[in-house]
Each structure stands twice: as structure tokens, then as C-alpha cells.
């Protein structure tokens, strides 16, 4: 029988660029999402923004289905997602004139404040000139036109779609007088940011939230985004937007992702406090103490446990580095790509004496053949729970941690890991399986 081999993969010490993260197999299942999905995930949050997806029937149909389903689930309306479905003639002759008419029609019918034009694979292959389209139309209509390119053949996943949509939002911003002690949160794609540890603390100290981009903003309010004294970037996908705002509006930023490393969280808090001119020393000490206590508890249970990292809302190498610091041993790490600061986290893992294999995410089938070789105690991320149980592997998913920021992130992660391991050991030998989900 044909078997997959870890030899196809590189080890962590050999990973220098995204291209070093290899697939275990040529045939991929289910494969990664494309940037168009990233756009759909992000643009729908921006109130009053019209999005026109230009692509094949397939790209437009599935994007619209996704946004309708999402809108139904949240009780909102997705009527601002429109589609221009190209046909064979458009592939041969281009569709500039038709698109002009479509945009003018949208402008007339809906009177939108802004339209995000989204190109897809086929449009990028045939070289349809969207910049020219914007140039020729912008003076004729009151809606602000922006373009986001969402082709998938130049990247490996949906993240560029999120990054580019957020960057496009900068096109709606205008220079403003800066309000002291106000912040924007960049990159948070969930409701309830004010319930996070970070924001609760800042709100207590009198810091005001100007905007949460994209999850709580509108076309109009985005104009006032530069009035914030500080941007706090809570997801790496918003770093390009933060850079743009720094360049265009001189808005300073702190990158404070969903870290697990206690020193990084402390440094993040201190940087925010310093830039806002507030003191958080006492609170940081107190919160850190709780996290350190949690580390001590988790250490006893998790020490020497081996793990495969799959997919969570956290940074692949950052969480892996943290788990190594608890004495856990990585046997394989799955990653989308290499992102900001990943080289730092990778070095930390290597400095702790680990050199696991690294492979690209979203291709589970061949990996399943290798569980007997890798023999992990824990699988972190989504997988078939029954298959993992059969192999005696504890599964821990961490979707709920996406809404957290600060020391609450590592506390919750350690709790989930420890609880799952204990529950699994208790249940071992019984005829039911267990998996923990945050």
C-alpha cells in the first residue's frame, strides 16, 4: 500500500520562507480557502459598504450563499453583497463596459456610500483592468470605489483577502484631530471586544474605543478612524492597515495579538499603557500572577505530553512555543504560511531543543496515515474526533479563544488542555470518546 512519508516535509530548522512549508501529498483535502472567502469574512462587517464580487458563477454563488447564511445566523441583512457573474464572452472580450454599466446601476439603484470591487482568479488571469474602471467611473458617481484582488493562484489561503479588505478600508479614512486616550482595535472579527480582558482594563482606565475594525464600524465612521490616539492590532491580518494608517495619518500602533507567552502579553500591556499615558502596572502584575498560577497547575499535567498542532484562531508558532515552555513536545506543526514575527517564535521553539516537522494546513487525509508514526498524545485543532479517539489521541479545539485578549488567552488554553487530558485519562477504556472545545 502506498504510504505518505514525513520525508516530504521540512523540519522547523529548515523553514525560512513560506515555500518551505510543504504539503504531505499532492492531492489535498479539503484544501485551503481562497482570498475571496477572506473578503467575505471581513467586508460584511463594515456597515453600508457595498461589495461587488466579479467572478465566475461558482465564485459569486458560493460567496453569496456564505454571506446569506452568515447574515441569517446573525439576524442582519447581507443585501450589500452583489455579484457580477462573468460568462465566456467576458473571458474572451473582457467586461469593462458591462462592469461600468453594473457599477452605475448599483450607484443609481442603491445610492451606496462606498463600493468594494472584488476581482477573482479568472479576472486576474485575463488582466481585466479594475484600476482603469475606477479611474473612469469615480468622477461620475458619489460612491467611493475601492478594489480588492482575491485571486488564489498567488497565495495559499484566505488571509490576503482579509488583509486587503482591511487595507481598502483605509481609503475611506480622513485626517482628523486626534482625541487623547482613544483607541481603534484593528483586526478583531468578533462581537463583544469590550468583554475581553484587555478592553475591560482599558475601559476602566477611562480609555475610549473609537472603532473596532472591521467588526464595529461603518463607511461613515471609518472616516473618523484617524482620530484615535492609538491603534491596537489584535490580529496579524490587520498589520498592513496599521502600517498604512501610520504612514498616512501618523497613527501609532501596538501589535497585541492573541498571545500566550506571558512576557509578550506583559510587553503588549506595557506598550499600550505607555503610548496612552496610563499606568497599568498593578493590574498587569495581578493578572500575570493568575496566569503564572495556571502555568504551575498545567505544568504538572501537560509536562512531556507530545502534540500535533493543527488549526486554531491563534498564531501557530506562538502557541507552539508557549506549549513547549510548559514542557510539551511538538511532533508536527501545521501552518498556513509564515507571518509577522514567526521567525521569533520559531527560534524560541528551536532554542528549547525541539525540531518538529512542519506541514501546510487543510490537508488532513494523508496526515491520518502518520499518527501511528508520530504517536502524539494531543491533537490541537479540528479533526475527526472518532479517528483520533481510536488512536488514543486527545483532541482539543480552541475556537472560543478567538474572542479573548490578554492573560485570559493562555489561562483558557491551559485549562482546556489540562481538562481534556484529565477527562480523557478518566474515560480511557470506556466506550465513549471525549474532546474538549472552547
Amino acid at each position: 500500500m502506498y504510504s505518505y512519508s514525513l520525508d516530504k516535509l521540512k523540519r522547523l530548522t529548515e523553514v525560512e520562507t513560506g515555500k518551505d512549508i510543504k504539503q504531505l501529498s499532492n492531492a489535498q483535502f479539503p484544501g485551503t480557502h481562497c482570498p475571496l472567502f477572506g473578503v467575505a469574512l471581513t467586508a460584511g462587517y463594515i456597515k453600508d459598504l457595498f461589495t461587488l464580487v466579479v467572478g465566475t458563477d461558482e465564485c459569486t454563488f458560493y460567496t453569496k450563499t456564505f454571506t446569506m447564511e452568515r447574515a441569517n445566523a446573525s439576524g442582519s441583512s447581507d443585501n450589500h453583497f452583489l455579484s457580477f457573474a462573468i460568462n465566456q464572452d467576458d473571458v474572451v472580450f473582457g467586461c469593462h463596459d458591462k462592469l461600468e454599466k453594473a457599477v452605475l446601476h448599483i450607484n443609481r439603484k442603491y445610492r451606496p456610500k462606498a463600493i468594494l470591487l472584488v476581482t477573482t482568479c479568472v479576472l486576474e488571469v485575463i488582466g481585466e483592468d479594475f484600476d482603469a474602471l475606477v479611474y473612469s467611473l469615480q468622477d461620475q458617481i458619489q460612491a467611493k470605489l475601492m478594489v480588492v484582488r482575491a485571486e488564489h493562484f498567488k497565495c495559499h489561503n484566505h488571509i490576503p483577502g482579509i488583509e486587503r479588505t482591511l487595507e481598502a478600508a483605509a481609503g475611506l479614512m480622513e485626517q482628523q484631530p486626534v482625541q487623547a486616550k482613544t483607541i481603534n482595535i484593528l483586526g478583531h472579527r468578533y462581537n463583544g471586544v469590550e468583554d475581553t480582558e484587555l478592553l475591560k482594563l482599558l475601559l476602566q482606565k477611562g480609555v475610549g474605543i473609537n472603532l473596532v475594525i472591521p467588526s464595529s464600524c461603518s463607511v461613515d465612521s471609518l472616516a473618523a478612524a484617524p482620530s484615535a490616539a492609538l491603534n491596537i492590532v489584535t490580529d496579524f491580518s490587520a498589520l498592513p492597515l496599521a502600517e498604512q494608517m501610520k504612514t498616512k495619518f501618523d497613527t501609532d500602533y501596538v501589535y497585541f495579538d492573541k498571545y500566550l507567552n506571558l512576557d509578550r502579553i506583559t510587553a503588549g500591556y506595557k506598550a499600550v499603557a505607555e503610548k496612552l499615558g496610563i499606568c497599568l502596572d498593578k493590574e498587569i502584575l495581578q493578572l500575570r500572577k493568575s496566569a503564572e498560577d495556571a502555568v504551575k497547575k498545567a505544568n504538572n499535567i501537560l509536562y512531556s505530553k507530545t502534540f500535533i498542532y493543527g488549526n486554531t484562531p491563534l498564531l501557530a508558532f506562538e502557541i507552539s512555543s508557549f506549549l513547549c515552555s510548559l514542557g510539551m513536545k511538538p511532533v508536527l506543526l501545521q501552518a498556513r504560511d509564515l507571518y509577522a514575527n514567526d521567525h521569533v517564535y520559531i527560534k524560541e521553539i528551536m532554542d528549547m531543543g525541539h525540531n518538529p516537522h512542519v506541514c501546510r494546513i487543510a490537508n488532513i487525509a494523508p496526515l491520518q496515515q502518520l499518527y501511528d508514526v508520530l504517536q502524539p498524545n494531543i491533537y490541537i485543532g479540528h479533526e475527526n474526533p472518532v479517528k483520533l479517539m481510536e488512536k488514543g489521541i486527545v483532541q482539543v479545539t480552541m475556537d472560543g479563544v478567538a474572542k479573548k485578549l490578554g492573560f485570559e488567552v493562555p489561562i483558557l488554553v491551559m485549562q482546556a488542555l489540562a481538562d481534556s487530558v484529565c477527562a480523557f485519562e478518566t474515560l480511557a477504556g470506556k466506550e465513549h470518546y471525549h474532546h474538549a472545545a472552547l
Binding site: 502506498y2 489535498q28 479539503p30 453569496k64
Partner: protein
């Protein structure tokens, strides 16, 4: 205008994948960017269907496009063949592969000798028409390339052609047809093209005596099987009491088989009281008019039940796709002038406004567009609200389907009676 506020028409490529996805033991390889496959996979959820085949993507990068390098596809085919040892691998072109002119047909022909699985390719890439074109292509290709000469003929067996997951109620309807064939004729189901089927079942299709075709897109498939294996076929679906009785009679005549008259009498007798109940309920409302929407075969066959038995004044009938290809039966005179084939969104809005219906029986998008209509019942896809249809004893077809639809309509009328125009 190719601009859509709701959903564009699904493409032939989407139809191809929908028809193939439910064939157990088959492998499908898509040559294109991975996101296309991932999206398609999630798209299956709205159909209440499981992915039974093994679906893979090769992904594709700039080098593949610029250099026309198809090594990635060749290696993936070899790998899937070696790992899974499937009887068949379906190779699908993505829109990008199709545009850059990747010759998937030649690649498969050249590889076939070294590959254990039979390679069957679909090269359209999504530009050849709507989803019905893709479904037709799959059904035809299966009849041409997969069905094997039978070692033995099974007298009391039949196949169903054209039960596919894009039909809103495919699982329950298939079960109902199976039940009628068993109770009325004593016949057993042999193979289904293609919902919840398998490579083996399709390979063995020619063992059956005849084919029941539930959609026009299956007509070429049935013709090929007739030509290759002398299998007779009948096109049509059983809806309503009279419609099901007629379907049974046509079946008996076409295939020279004897129907169970006692069974038929019992079913019709039961139906009478339910019809009286809904006729009585509708009499309370003045001009209970409606719009019906769905696939051509569905609306054609269910229209007489709704208008002549239930007595709903169906004023307009929308067909949700183009009518390309052979096998679509001529509409009855009563239906002909009501048909709107594949109208655009704006046209649908005009229809809704002109008819001002009391009831909508249609797809999920039409129901969204007509959110103000008092009685709205989803009977077709798309299914944007992802309504579950897990329980497979709720058919639209057959005698039980007629009763179930009556019950559904009665409940909806009762729930929304304040919004309906009373006759008195």
C-alpha cells in the same frame, strides 16, 4: 445584466460536482485553485447531502498558469490511484484550467495506461451553461463509460436516473418511488444515478429490467442504456393522487407489468378525504393564487396536482434553469402560457409584483424575494437558509407526497390565516 442581488445561476461545473459527489468509492480530482474545491465542499451543505466520493484538489499557482505546467495534475492522479486504488477517478477542470487551455483529456489519455483506475474527465470549467448541463454531462458519461455489460439480468429490478442532490427533496422522493415500485409492482431498486449511489451500483446498472428517469437531463443517459443494453425507460415523476395514478398506469403500459389494483384503490381512497379537507379550507379565501418555482420536471409534473386537485390558482410558473438539450417534455396546454423559463432577478420581482400571490411554492431565494407573501413553502433549491431535510419520510412525490404537501399547505394557511383575504 449579469448583476445579481441574490444568487447567480450555478454553472455546469457546479452541477458536475454535485452529481459526482454522492458516488461512493469514486475519487474526484479538481485541477485548480484549492479555494474552488473548499467552497464547493461547503456548498454541499445546503443540499442536505454528504460527500460520498473522495474529493481532492491539486491547487494551482502562477507557474502552472504561466508555464502551462500540468505536472501537478499528473502527479496527483498517480498518487490518488496508488493511495486509494479507486475503480474510477473523475478529473475536473477548474475555470482557470479551462481558460489557460490545459488539455485534461489528453493528459488523462496519456496516463490511462499506467493508472489502475478508469479516468473520466469533465473539461468545461464552468462556461458551458448552467448546472443542468453539468448534471446531464455526468449522467451521460456514466452511461457511456461506467455501466458494464451484465453477467445476468434481474427481472424485478429497475434503476432511477436523475435523482440528484440538487433536487430539494431528493432523499425522501427517491424513497417514495422505491416504495411505490415495491408495493405496486413488486419491483426492487437496482441503481440510482447518482444520489447515495456507488461505483459498483452504477457499473451493475444494466442488470436491471428498465430505467425510471426523473429529470429531462437524464434522457441521454437512458437513451444510451437503451442502445447499449436494450433497456426501456420512462420519463416523468409521480406528483399528486391523479398524477401518481397516471404515472403508475404509464409504467404498467410502458414496461408491460401489472400494477396492484388493491394498493392503488386504498391510496386513492385515503387521498379523497385529505383533498376534501384542503378544498374546504381554501374555499374560505378569495382567489388563493400562487407562484410555483423549481426545476422544469418538478413544476411540469406537480402543476396539475396543485391546480386541479388542491385547487390553488397558480398564475405563474418559474423554471429555475435553462432548457438546453433533449429530453424536456412538452408542457401541458394549461401550463404553457404560465411558464417563465430562467428569468432574471428583475423579471422575478416583476412577476411577484404583478401576481401578488397568496402562496409561494418555490426555492429559498424566491421565498426571500417574496418575504411579504403570506404563505411561503420551500420546495426547491437554492436553500440559503440551510433548512434541514434529514427525515426521509416527507416526500413530495407519490401518494404520501400528496398527503404531506396537503398537510404542509394546510398548516401554513392556518398559521398565516390573518394575512389571507377571506372570501366572506
Amino acid at each position: 445584466m449579469q448583476l445579481y442581488k441574490y444568487l447567480p445561476q450555478p454553472s455546469d461545473r457546479m452541477g458536475t460536482l454535485w452529481a459526482l459527489a454522492t458516488i461512493n468509492d469514486a475519487c474526484i480530482i479538481e485541477y485548480g485553485p484549492a479555494g474552488t474545491t473548499h467552497y464547493a465542499l461547503e456548498g454541499l451543505m445546503q443540499f442536505n447531502a454528504q460527500l460520498e466520493a473522495r474529493l481532492f484538489t491539486t491547487h494551482m499557482d502562477e507557474n502552472d498558469i504561466i508555464m502551462g505546467d500540468s505536472t501537478r495534475l499528473e502527479e496527483t492522479i498517480r498518487e490518488v490511484d496508488a493511495v486509494h486504488n479507486p475503480p474510477v477517478i473523475f478529473v475536473l477542470a477548474s475555470s482557470i484550467a479551462s481558460i489557460v487551455g490545459t488539455d485534461i483529456q489528453s493528459i488523462c489519455e496519456n496516463l490511462q495506461e499506467e493508472i489502475g483506475a478508469k479516468l473520466i474527465c469533465f473539461t468545461s470549467g464552468g462556461f458551458r451553461g448552467d448546472y443542468t448541463v453539468g448534471i446531464r454531462e455526468v449522467l451521460t458519461a456514466l452511461a457511456e463509460n461506467m455501466v458494464k455489460a451484465p453477467k445476468e439480468k434481474l427481472e424485478n429490478r429497475y434503476n432511477i436516473i436523475g435523482c440528484n442532490i440538487d433536487s430539494y427533496n431528493f432523499a425522501a422522493d427517491c424513497k417514495e418511488v422505491e416504495s411505490i415500485m415495491k408495493d405496486c409492482f413488486g419491483f426492487e431498486l437496482n441503481s440510482v444515478f447518482t444520489a447515495n449511489s456507488s461505483v459498483k451500483q452504477i457499473e451493475d446498472a444494466a442488470r436491471a429490467k428498465f430505467n425510471l428517469v426523473l429529470r429531462g437531463e437524464g434522457s441521454e443517459c437512458a437513451e444510451i442504456l437503451k442502445e447499449r443494453f436494450d433497456m426501456d425507460y420512462y420519463i416523468g415523476c409521480p406528483y399528486g393522487f391523479r398524477g401518481t395514478l397516471q404515472w403508475v398506469r404509464n409504467m404498467a403500459k410502458t414496461f408491460s407489468i401489472k400494477a396492484n389494483d388493491i394498493y392503488l384503490y386504498q391510496q386513492l381512497d385515503q387521498g379523497k378525504k385529505h383533498l376534501m379537507r384542503i378544498n374546504h379550507a381554501l374555499f374560505n379565501y378569495s382567489n388563493f393564487n400562487g407562484i410555483l418555482a423549481g426545476s422544469y420536471d418538478f413544476v411540469t409534473d406537480i402543476h396539475p396536482f396543485l391546480t386541479e386537485e388542491i385547487m390553488i390558482n397558480i398564475e405563474k410558473v418559474i423554471v429555475n434553469h435553462s432548457l438546453r438539450g433533449e429530453g424536456y417534455r412538452r408542457p401541458a396546454k394549461a401550463l404553457e402560457h404560465k411558464l417563465a423559463v430562467n428569468p432574471g432577478e428583475e423579471e422575478k420581482e416583476v412577476i411577484l409584483s404583478k401576481v401578488a400571490p397568496e402562496i409561494l411554492l418555490g426555492d429559498g431565494v424566491l421565498l426571500e424575494m417574496g418575504a411579504h407573501v403570506p404563505v411561503r413553502i420551500q420546495v426547491a433549491n437554492p436553500n440559503p437558509r440551510h433548512y434541514y431535510r434529514i427525515y426521509d419520510n416527507t416526500p413530495f412525490m407519490g401518494f404520501n407526497g400528496a398527503i404531506y404537501l396537503i398537510e404542509t399547505i394546510l398548516n401554513q394557511i392556518h398559521a398565516n390565516r390573518k394575512e389571507l383575504k377571506a372570501r366572506f
